[in-house]
Amino acid sequence: MTQTMAVAKALNESLRKALENDPKVLIMGEDVGKLGGVFRITDGLHKDFGEGRVIDTPLAESGIVGTAIGLALRGYRPVVEIQFDGFVFPAYDQIVTQLAKMHARALGKIKLPVVIRIPYGGGIGAVEHHSESPEALFAHIPGLKVVSPSNPSDAYWMLQQAIECDDPVIFFEPKRRYWDKGEVDVSALPGDLHRAVVAQQGTDITLAAYGPMVKVCLEAAAAAANEGRSLEVVDLRSLSPIDFDTIQASVERTGRLVVVHEAPVFYGAGAEIAARITERCFYHLEAPVLRVGGFHAPYPPARLEEEYLPGLDRVLDAVDRALAF
């Protein structure tokens, strides 16, 4: 049952399936109803499932997440859409102090199966607050799980799994990949939501990335292959927890690691991966783990984003530097 579809469509189909499978699943957010969301991820769902299941909310993110928590306490499984990365912060308090902690507060007696979908990252030529990568701000919080698919198949399956998970999951969608197409086998049994996968095998160096940067890394691997270099690419898929075993296994083979993400490098996911992999692979590493990512500066205006975002050249530059050690 393999179909070719874009990431956006895969997410839409995944939501549709979840709504069909479980009457407790709800979609909530700004403009998710008739409009189908500003990215059309919920397209058609309001029409087919009604406004009782697909809920246009007031313009208040804390209210959206806070009421989603209440609905979860009542037995529902809300899937919340935050319109853009930069607009999740009004909800940050509810996410960090309530959603993440209530299961522990109740010593496990209540569950909070809430999914928060956040289109994130840059590259779409948008205005301020529409291109950010705040994933580290969630991954640092115990009680939350944080994942990000990089392709249509993962978009489809990981969203299913996130909705089925009894824990709160922050689901980061690589918005500039929404229109990228790929194969989705809607009947395949998916692997563990939090397992990383080797997206491209290689022998000289490992690239670890997630979400929008996986594609860049695969392109880098292709470009490097032309120069006779063999790059392995690990698609992390999950940022909390992180599948360090898979990265470690790869690094033990290649001896070198470059972590790539759009988010600012300073205190970013790359730091955690570099620290832990260095600890695990100290005697295997022939070079320090290098990081390629955003700068310590607000996400720049659109006309600068191409230079701001890590691209092929910056990835390959890091590869060169790592190999030069």
């Binding site: 009782g52 909310t57 007031p58 208040a60 804390s62 209210g63 997440v65 806070g66 009421t67 989603a68 928590i69 209440g70 609905l71 979860a72 306490l73 009542r74 037995g75 529902y76 308090d93 509810q94 102090t97 309530q98 902690k101 209530m102 299961h103 522990a104 507060r105 109740a106 010593l107 496990g108 007696k109 209540i110 569950k111 909070l112 115990p142 009680g143 799980k145 998970c165 009894d166 824990d167 939090h194 909390s240 927890p241 992180i242 599948d243």
Partner: protein, 394 residues
């Protein structure tokens, strides 16, 4: 004896001048524009145009008992804190009527979302008082099962729970159930954006939720004027639902008003805001020192409006209770205090590895790894100890 009072819950312009005119009573009254009252501070039963109540002597005695036992529990907790058995306590002293009246208005299938001070409400929901003490002792962050008594965990971050209550109420409506939800919050909390958003969501979705504001006139050291320049119940109208102010030291009025508000919600008419005007007789918590910021006279003034004393006066005036009744309650109080004292002292500390429990419902490789590492680290001490004692044996 029964005196007419026509105070209404509407905007002050409406009721001003008609309510509890100052000249009528010898002592100052709790009376304020728009304040619903059924029992005066002097224990006189008065009628109200919109809110009636008719309780049997037994029911009245029950409310009295609830308030006395709650106060005794509270006092015992303060003592336990002083003795070092609790790390902290947030006393409800003075707010017994607001809590017992509103709590007794709820039905078992209603759902309560408390702050950290709702010990009296918990009592009406049959929550074991010992459950409330765990977090103040520092053995857990709450830990009871909210669904056992439809009484959520205490929430410390101010205002958050009003949104949870609203969402829960949206779910109740979705389920077609006729239950209602009640969300407690303070005068200070009324300033939080979350509370305003809860009003908005509740109104837009017509959610069956009662917002119950205990205006105890203080948010730690800040008087209510730092939160609002008009009575808080008035906020509701601007969101499109009714608000009413009730004498929070009058258990009958609180019961009547909350019953009506819950019924309003259950019957599909949407949210309602109840402001119970009361007074925090004690410190904010046991770590607080109110002498730094409020006058003793204020406290004394409010002591004369005590919720328990006024019901007792009424019971006595009407001959609804005899010495046996009071003696019985005294005995019950002592037994409760004893049970609480012993229960707290025997409350086990959690085991160290509890740190790693209940972080996730579905588990996490990261927690597993840290748990294993920490267990190994701890074991290394035991090994060392074993090693050195083994060493001694040589």
């Amino acid at each position: 004896m029964s005196v007419k009072s026509t105070a209404a819950g509407g905007p002050p312009a409406k009721g001003r001048g008609r309510t509890s005119p100052r000249g009528h009573a010898a002592k100052p009254r709790t009376g304020e524009p728009g304040l619903v009252q059924l029992l005066t501070p002097e224990g006189e039963r008065v009628e109200h145009a919109d809110y009636a109540i008719d309780l049997t002597p037994e029911e009245l005695r029950g409310l009295y008992r609830d308030m006395v036992l709650t106060r005794r529990f509270d006092a015992e907790a303060i003592t336990l804190q002083r003795q070092g058995e609790l790390g902290l306590w947030a006393s409800l002293l003075g707010q017994e009527a607001a809590q017992i009246g509103s709590g007794r208005a709820t039905r078992p299938d209603d759902y309560v979302f408390p702050t950290y001070r709702e010990h009296g409400v918990a009592w009406t929901r049959d929550v074991d008082p010992l459950n409330l003490l765990g977090m103040f002792r520092g053995v857990n962050h709450g830990g009871w099962d909210p669904n056992e008594n439809n009484f959520q965990l205490y929430t410390i971050v101010i205002g958050s729970q009003t949104l949870h209550a609203t969402g829960y109420a949206m779910g109740v409506a979705k389920d077609g159930a006729d239950a209602a939800v009640i969300a407690y919050f303070g005068d200070g909390a009324s300033s939080q954006g979350d509370v305003a958003e809860a009003f908005t969501f509740a109104a837009v979705y017509n959610a069956p939720v009662v917002f119950f504001c205990q205006n105890n006139q203080w948010a730690i050291s800040e008087p209510t004027e730092k939160q609002s320049r008009v009575p808080i119940y008035q906020r509701a109208a601007g969101y499109g639902f009714p608000g009413v102010r009730v004498d929070g030291n009058d258990v009958l009025a609180v019961l009547a008003v909350t019953r009506a508000a819950l019924e309003h919600a259950r019957s599909g008419q949407g949210p309602m805001l109840v402001e119970a005007f009361t007074y925090r007789m004690g410190a904010h918590t046991t770590t607080d020192d109110p002498t730094r910021y409020r006058r003793d006279e204020e406290r004394e003034e409010w002591a004369s409006k005590d919720p328990i004393a006024r019901l007792k006066t009424y019971l006595e005036r009407e001959g609804f209770a005899d010495e046996d009744f009071y003696a019985g309650i005294d005995a019950e109080s002592d037994a409760l205090a004893k049970r609480v004292r012993e229960g707290v002292r025997n409350m086990p500390n959690p085991g160290t590895m509890a740190i790693f429990e209940n972080v996730y419902a579905d588990g996490s490789a990261l927690v597993d790894e840290e748990r294993a590492q920490f267990a190994a680290y701890q074991a290394s001490f035991e090994d060392a100890a074993a090693g050195s004692s083994a060493g001694t044996g040589h």
